[in-house]
């Protein structure tokens, strides 16, 4: 039984179904990546796992527990963290306040966790009193990920973390994601930069039109000629 499972998910935003029997799973401490063409339903699948979308068929299981009926806030309390693609920081609040808000549900001493986040993202420590809205795109992404880590989650879900970010910063971000996974946190990631993402993935899911098309380890998918032809550009 995988740690995080989205089983046979079917649903949409209210009108037509976008997901058709899609299944995603990730082991503890593993990096699972969802790739696919535009409009394939990648972000939709992740939102369904987080509870921002209602699925009428299928279930979501976290560590064996069925969480399908829980609201996103309740899932956060269970140990899930979600980093949206856009508007993922509080722009008029300082970096430090952003991290404090990330840990809002926690009532214990959060300074140790904050120190850990500053250790993983040293540039945030330098800019801790600066408003998050004044930072560059890459630094803002780090604030967004740091904010999500403040709840000490078991699962970290990232929606296109490298969107609009320069190649060097993208490498840095992926390095940080690997570091986070090594601490035992399960990572589920949707990415457009398929090649780089599959490079660091333990498990890759290629989705087309709301369905699973290919599922395998990142390395196998990278070398699969059909996958390469469709999304990786040969």
């Amino acid at each position: 039984m995988s740690f995080l499972v989205g089983e046979n998910m079917t649903g949409g935003y209210g009108g037509a179904d976008i997901l058709h029997g899609c299944s995603i799973a990730a082991e503890k401490g593993e990096i699972a990546v969802i790739v696919g063409p535009n409009g394939a339903g990648k972000s939709t699948a992740m939102k369904a796992i987080f509870g921002m979308l209602d699925i009428h068929t299928g279930s979501i299981l976290l560590d064996g527990e069925d969480i399908t009926e829980l609201s996103p806030q309740a899932r956060v309390a269970k140990g899930m963290a979600f980093v949206p693609q856009t508007a993922n920081v509080f722009p008029t609040m300082s970096v430090e306040e952003n991290l404090e808000m990330g840990a809002f549900l926690r009532r214990d001493d959060i300074s140790k966790t904050m120190d850990e986040v500053f250790e993983s993202f040293p540039i945030l420590k330098d800019k801790r009193l600066q408003n998050a809205g004044e930072l560059s795109g890459g630094q803002r992404q780090q604030v967004a990920v740091g904010r999500a880590l403040m709840t000490q989650p078991k699962v970290l879900m990232l929606d296109e973390p490298t969107a609009g970010v320069s190649p060097i910063v993208m490498d840095e971000l992926f390095d940080n994601i690997i570091k986070v996974a090594r601490t035992g946190i399960t990572i589920l990631m949707v990415e457009q930069n398929a090649r780089q993402a599959l490079n660091i993935a333990n498990k890759g899911y290629v989705m087309v039109q709301g369905r699973n098309k290919f599922t395998d380890t990142g390395e196998v998918l990278l070398n699969n000629p059909e996958v390469r032809k469709s999304f990786l550009g040969g």
Binding site: V76, P84, A87, N88, V89, T92, E97, F104
Partner: protein
Amino acid sequence: MEDLLNAFFLMSNFVFVPAIAYGSQLALGAVGVTLVYGILRFSNFAHGDTMAFGTMFVILFTWLFQSYGINLGPLPTALLALPFGIIITIVFLLGSDKFVYRFYRAKKAVPVTYLIASVGIMFVLNGIVRFIIGPNDQRFADGERFIIKAKTMKQFLGTAEGVSIKVSQGLTVVTAIIVVMVLFWFLNKTRTGKSMRAFSDNEDLALLSGINPDKVVAVTWILVAILATIAGTLYGLDKSFKPFTYFMLLLPIFASAIVGGLGNPLGAIAGGFVIAFSEIMITYPYKKFVAYIVPGDWKPEGLVQLLATDYKFAVSFIILVLVLLFRPTGIFAGKSV
């Protein structure tokens, strides 16, 4: 030299001191408006009449205390009545949220719907206040009237001009400073205050972080009730209480909030002073002031008044329109209207 001193005293007495007092009152009102805009995301047109509602109950309790012979010595008895007025206003605003605004929040209405609903609440408050206390002027200030009297100052210094500072004006400034300090401490240092700023900044992310929207809404209305009642009472002590005047205050208050940048409390305070000083300085007859400054044969014939005092609100209105046209996000770059 003595002429310059007289000129300074003249300006202080008729422009600076009144403008600082008026600016503080507008600032407190504008902060209430800006909090609702920033956190609840709509323009609250009922704010002026909320101030009237709160002040009305402060007046009623003041009269009650005065009839029992309770007073505060040199300070106005209204200060004792203030907490009672605040509590009643809190109850009303929480009730208006429960029975009116919550309905629209559940339907995810657009901001203009809330605005129209607030106009409805404005009319209800309007009616309640006139029904209970009547539409006429009410004076409820008691205690000492002046901290410094112009006459005393003139006698003491031997100058032609002096400066009066009324107790109500001094009280306004001191109260405004205390209220603003407490408010900023609350918003910047407490967990609840920070959660409200987060909610104003990025509502979806705030909800994802586990911030309770109902609590944020309730605390916002409580703050608005406190600010509106204090602002209304200070204005009533300084000038007088007349329900219609409070309704009219909506214009300079909104102008202050917009000039400072909607959603930004610091901006609202700055905006309050900008509007107050503009209103008073543009409608002040400078004849006497100029007479003190310039040499003998340049003394002006006319009043040297840019606009008649009847046009005070036109000044706020013009500033409001200019800001909306040329810099809608205000001085401190708040949310766009």
